[in-house]
Each structure stands twice: as C-alpha cells, then as structure tokens.
C-alpha cells in the first residue's frame, strides 16, 4: 500500500513543475538575498502583551491606500443596494429639519439667534448628522468585518476610520442643500466659508474618537448596539443644535463647552451666517477632541489584540 501511495506522490510531484514552465509568468526580480533583507529591515517581533506605542494615527497614515479602498467600498456598496441611493443622504437631514422646524421652531418657539429657524437648525444638523451616522456605522464596523479581522492582519483602526470617512461623502452631498437654502434665505457668503473644511475635519476626528472606541467595546460587549442610539440621542440634546448656545443659562455653558461638538457647531454656524467666530470656544473644542482621540486610540490599541479571538 505504501509503495502505491508513493507512486501517487511522484505523479503529482512532476505536475506543478511542468505547469509553471508552460505558464512562464515571471515573478519580477527574484527576492533579494535574505542577508540583505535582514540587514535592511528591523525584525518583526511577536510577543504576548507586547506594548504598542503611540495612538495608532501613524498606522492609519501608513495604510492610507487600504483606508481609501475601504471607504470607496463602503460608499459604493451603500448606494448600490438602495433604491433611493444618494437621495438618502439628502432626505435624512432635510426631513429632520422639517420636523424640528415645526416642533421646536413653530410650536415650542425656540429662539434661533435671529436667523430663520429652518436654516438655523439645518446648519446645526449637518455636522451632527455626519457625526451620528459615522459613529453608528463605525461602532458596528469591526463586528461587521469579522471575516476580515480573523483572516488577515492590518491595523484594525483602519476599519472604523473608513466608516467615518465614508460619512464625509454624505455630508458633502447634503452640504449642497445647505448652500441652496442659504441662497433662498438670501444669506451672503464671506470668507468664513473657508472655515468649513477644517471644521468638518475636526468633526471627523471627534467621530473617529467616539467611533473607534465604541467599535472596540462592541466587539467585547454587544450591549453597545443597544446603548449607543440612546447615548447619541442624549448627545443631540446636549449639543446646541435645535437651540442656540445663548439659550443656556450663562453659568451652565462651561458644561456644554466640554462637548467638543458644541464648540464645533457654534463655529460652523458662525461660518455659515458670516458672524464672528468664538475662537476660545473652538480652542476648547480642539483640546477636548485631541484628548478624546488620544484616549480612544490608546484604549483601542489595548483591546485590539483580542479582537480576532472574541469577535
């Protein structure tokens, strides 16, 4: 029996040889000699509980090509599978705006710093909707990409980051509506508009911080899925979106300032309506954002080593 087995082995032994010569696909330059490799690259060390330094933003940059393709995949697939497609990006904030205008603007008569309430609330809803969507998709992103996580290595942070970046596309689309509304209400644009891209980048950082934190927690505790919508809802009310900051009594405003989105949305509105920007509020928002991203990055990297085993 054994000799028969060996014959079988020999038959197959010759097969790949002939295939590869017939195929003749060249593999480019042959690999550099191993000694050269060893001299050139620092060795990759794998150890249990090995400390990873930094907050992972360097990893993100090193894998920007992957980030780009994941964002592109998310955007493409999202719009391929829906009937209304891009319209959703517009409809969602638009309908929310209508509802809020009726309830808070007309019925509750919430003040709006002298601007027409619809555009006032829409200017606040735009960054918020982006934040809300990004954090929600990011929080499910690791679990949703479990097949990838268990089969191939790359910095896991790329996955929630891609979810956040994909949200920017929706934001860009709905920003067109804001622009049209501004034309309708006869708002004159000025240099303040230049502030919008950096403000969105800042919002994206806040979303990245919250999103990656939630995504990592969600791998371990599936409760996040239930708790997050609730937390986001509360978040919306402690951010000056449906009301102006001036609506809050002076002595409580410092509390709101701890919420980075509060400063960002204030500045966003100021930029849209051509009003003076509250730079100190924005500076606080930047500081809290940096703290949030650092904390989130640090805790993400601590949890990421377990992802493949428990997801």
């Amino acid at each position: 029996m054994n000799s028969a087995r060996l014959e079988k082995v020999e038959e197959q032994l010759t097969a790949p040889e002939s295939v590869s010569t017939r195929e003749g696909v060249s593999h480019g330059a042959p690999a550099r000699t191993a000694d050269a490799i060893a001299a050139r690259l620092p060795p990759l060390i794998i150890e249990s509980g090995k400390r990873r330094l930094g907050f992972g933003l360097g990893d993100l940059w090193a894998h920007r090509d992957l980030l780009y393709f994941l964002v592109w995949r998310d955007v493409k697939v999202r719009y391929k599978q829906t009937v209304l497609g891009v319209a959703w990006a517009i409809l969602q904030p638009l309908l929310t705006m209508v509802v809020f205008t009726v309830i808070f603007g007309r019925l509750a008569k919430v003040p709006s710093d002298g601007e027409p309430y619809p555009i006032f609330v829409f200017a606040g809803l735009l960054p918020w909707t982006f934040f809300n969507q990004s954090v929600t998709t990011a929080s499910n992103s690791l679990v949703g990409n479990a097949a990838l996580i268990t089969k191939v290595y790359f910095p896991r942070m790329v996955i929630p980051a891609a979810a956040v970046c994909a949200g920017l596309v929706d934001f860009a689309i709905s920003a067109v509506i804001l622009f049209l509304m501004a034309l309708h209400y006869g708002i004159r644009f000025d240099a303040g508009l230049l502030l919008i891209p950096p403000l969105m980048a800042l919002t994206a950082l806040v979303a990245l911080g919250a999103g990656m934190w939630m995504s990592a927690l969600n791998v371990k505790y599936r409760d996040v899925r239930y708790a997050l919508p609730f937390m986001l809802q509360i978040g919306m009310y402690v951010t000056p979106i449906i009301y102006p900051l001036t609506f809050i009594p002076e002595r409580w405003r410092w509390l709101l300032a701890l919420n980075p989105l509060s400063g960002i949305i204030q500045a966003f509105r100021a930029a849209v309506f051509g009003r003076p920007v509250d730079w100190s509020g924005l500076a606080i928002a930047c500081a809290t954002t940096v703290v949030l991203v650092m904390l989130a990055g640090w805790s993400f990297r601590r949890m990421e080593r377990q992802f493949a085993d428990i997801v």
């Binding site: 028969a4 790949p16 696909v25 060795p43 249990s48």
Partner: protein, 424 residues
C-alpha cells in the same frame, strides 16, 4: 545563515467550556460578583479552582520552538486541532500568542483564505484593488500587476461583472490570482489550495513553487501530502499543539501516516479528545466500532457491515443528529453518513443521555487505514465536533473471487460491476 523566522516557546491558550463569544455587559457584571464567591467556595474544597491551569482553558499551541532558514519551504502537517491554523494566525499577527516569542525578518504575507475581502456586489476589477489593498499591496503595485493578475485568473471577459455573478471556479481563480501576486519575503499559506478544479489547483501549486524558487520563504500548511512532498524542503509535524517531528518531508510524512493508522481496539473515550473543535462543549463521551459479527473491533472486513456507536450526555434532552466522515489516512474524505441528511431519528423521543448507532451495510473500502470525524448536534446546531475521533483498519476480503483487488492508488472505494461483451 541567520534564520528568517525564529519561534521560541510559543504558546496559545484558549478558554473552553463556553463558546468564544463576546460577553454581554450583564454577564460581565454577574461574573464580577460571582467570581470571588466561586473562588472562595473552591478554596474551601481544597483549592481545586478551575483556574488558568485547570479545565476551562486549553492550549492550542504549547512550547513550540523552531527556526526557518531563508529560502526554505516548510510544510506544516498535523491532524485537525493540532495547532496548525493557530500557528499561522500568530505568525500573520491576526492573534496574539499567550506565551513565547517570534522573530521574523522581512515582509510577511499571508494567504489563509481565498477571497479575503472580496465583496460580492463589486466587479472583478474593483475586487482586485480592494482585496490587494487588504492583503497589504500598495495601489501602485496593484496597478502594475493588474494585467498579470487578470491573465492568471483567466477571466478577461468578466472583469467588469460583479463577482456575485461569477461561477465558483471563476471566483476562486480571481481570488487566488490576487493573492499569488503578493511579493512578501515570507509567505504563509493555509489550506487554500483545496479549492477549484484540478488544473487550477496545479496552477496554484506551480505558483507557490515558483515563489519558493524565487528565493522567498514559504510556510505551507496542508493535508495534501502530495503537495507537501512536491513543494517542501523540510516538514514540521504538530500534534496536540506541540512539535511532534521536524525534518525531511518524507520521513515526517511517513511518521504522520503511521501514527494515523495505529489501530486501537475499536473504542475511544471522547471526553478529553485532542481533536475536539476548540470551544465545543464535550457532549460525546465514547465512540465504539463494531464489525459484521457485532463485536467491538478496530478492524472491519471489506464488504461487511460496520457499526459506529456514539454515546453522548447532553445538558438537556435532545433529538441527537450524528454525522461521521470517513477519511483516508491522508485526510481525504471518502464518504459521509449523517442523519442530518436522512432524518431517520427526527421523530425519536428527546434524550439527555443515549447511544446513537449508525450501521453501514456494506463497507466498500479498499483495505488500509481510515479515520472518522464525528459531529453531534440537534436539528439546528452542532454541539460537538471531533476530528479524527477514531481510526480503524479495513481488512481485505475476496470480493472479486480472484483474490485480487485494485491498489489504493486507483481510488479507495471498491465497486462491484457487471461485465458483458457485445459483438460488433
């Protein structure tokens, strides 16, 4: 020469008893409160706590040390559950070891699955870029190799069709083509080659051989002994998470085959079987084989009945569904008998503890040694899966009436046939 991979006392421990699922917050809170209590109680009983060294953990890999020289093609063999996949997952940085250290010099590419990162809604072209990026290629690199990849996959006409419309063969060809054009110094390959048609499998093997001849280092996990023999310069055998043998491929392989055919007395206790799928709750307690005379035996004559009897004990009464796959000593599946497909016991009264018997009427296998994978579950779920649960020997019988039987190299199944001749 300096080794390109050095593995030192590597170990990986998994928790068992519960499936590797994520905890909910409630379980966490309950655990936090009950753990100290449990510990105290077990302390009172003499400290037999189920702790890190105890029963609720399991070492998928333990005390593993080896080195790989640059340019070497190392085959890794072992039965299911021996720790091969765990090793590859650690080397490719997907999971972290519990103990030990690995040092690698050079870029590492891993190919643990065909089609990693493919999205069915996207076209072939889009998936090449996506999958390439996921496996670590730069965009420029993919652009440069794009035509090669398409040519290798032989799908030119369908490159702009969503891959969900691909035949499974096309899908696999494209997926492998992307992976095959990675150019790392160290390539880790799992059993991804057991896919696609024969000619494509040969092409894949050829590609791996080419990579190896290009001076790269390859770690190749497979059950396909022929492939190991053809490609590898050295072979490593794992058994129960430990290094069992390393050396010349032929020597290690013959040891592997020999170990597989060590025929027992036809019964194996299953509570602590090394082939159990990690995380499964031990439900099957014993397997027994019976020959044509109804006696327990590790050897069955070909053409005669064989009975597989599996005893189980479950937490609650179940209608058991038993499945067994009969495999050659090389690990190739020959046939499967499973009540999942027959449903003969679907109406039985649920039992928490029983023995399920499955009788194969005529065992038409060519003499040699075989091994059995077992599954036990209910209508919806597999509770307990054990690979290579038991092995047995098939004894020759003169079914042809001439005293001659076809050799195993023409297939391991024996079929009876009628012969006639018809004038032209």
């Amino acid at each position: 020469m300096q080794p390109i991979i050095r593995v030192d006392n590597l170990g990986k421990r998994y928790a068992i008893g519960r499936r590797e699922h994520s905890l909910t917050m409630r379980e966490m809170i309950v655990n936090a409160f009950t753990a100290p209590l449990r510990r105290m109680r077990s302390f009172g009983r003499g400290g037999r706590a189920a702790n890190a060294n105890g029963a609720d953990h399991f070492w998928a890999l333990q005390d593993l040390s080896f080195e790989v020289a640059p340019g070497e093609v190392l085959g890794v063999i072992g039965r299911n559950g021996a720790g091969k996949s765990t090793l590859l997952k650690i080397l490719s940085r997907i999971t972290e070891p519990t103990a030990g250290r690995v040092e690698m010099h050079g870029r590492v590419g891993s190919l643990l699955e065909v089609g990693t990162g493919f999205h069915s809604e996207l076209t072939g072209r889009e998936n090449i870029f996506l999958s390439g990026a996921i496996m670590g290629m730069r965009r420029a690199e993919i652009v440069r190799k794009f035509d090669q990849i398409v040519a290798f996959a032989e799908i030119d006409d369908f490159i702009d069709t969503p891959v969900k419309r691909y035949s499974s063969g096309m899908y696999v060809r494209l997926a492998f083509a992307v992976a095959a054009h990675l150019e790392p110094e160290i390539l880790l390959v799992d059993e991804v080659l057991a896919v696609g048609d024969i000619s494509f499998q040969k092409k894949c093997l050829g590609k791996i051989g080419e990579v190896a001849r290009g001076g790269r280092t390859v770690l190749f996990v497979s059950h396909n002994m022929a492939a190991i023999e053809a490609l590898c310069t050295r072979c490593l055998m794992l058994s129960g998470g430990r290094l069992a043998a390393v050396g010349e491929p032929l020597a290690v392989m013959s040891r592997y085959v020999a170990e597989g055919s060590a025929t027992g007395d036809g019964a194996v206790a299953l509570q602590t079987h090394p082939g159990r799928r990690p995380g499964d709750t031990p439900t099957m307690t014993r397997v027994e084989l019976r020959d044509g005379s109804g006696a327990q035996s590790g050897a069955v004559r070909m053409g005669e009945p064989m009975e597989i009897r599996v005893a189980y004990r479950a937490e609650r009464p179940v209608r058991p569904v038993l499945g067994s796959v009969i495999k050659t000593s090389y690990g190739a599946a020959v046939f499967c008998v499973s009540d999942r497909f027959c449903g003969r016991l679907a109406e039985c009264a649920p039992r928490a503890e029983a023995t399920v018997a499955c009788r194969v009427e005529r065992l038409m296998l060519i003499p040699g040694s075989y091994s059995i994978d077992l599954w036990l579950g209910d209508a919806g779920d597999d509770f307990d899966v054990i690979f290579d649960a038991i092995s047995f020997e098939v004894l020759p019988a003169d079914l042809t009436g001439t005293g001659r039987l076809p050799p195993p190299k023409y297939g391991v199944v024996f079929c009876e046939a009628e012969w006639s001749i018809h004038d032209a």
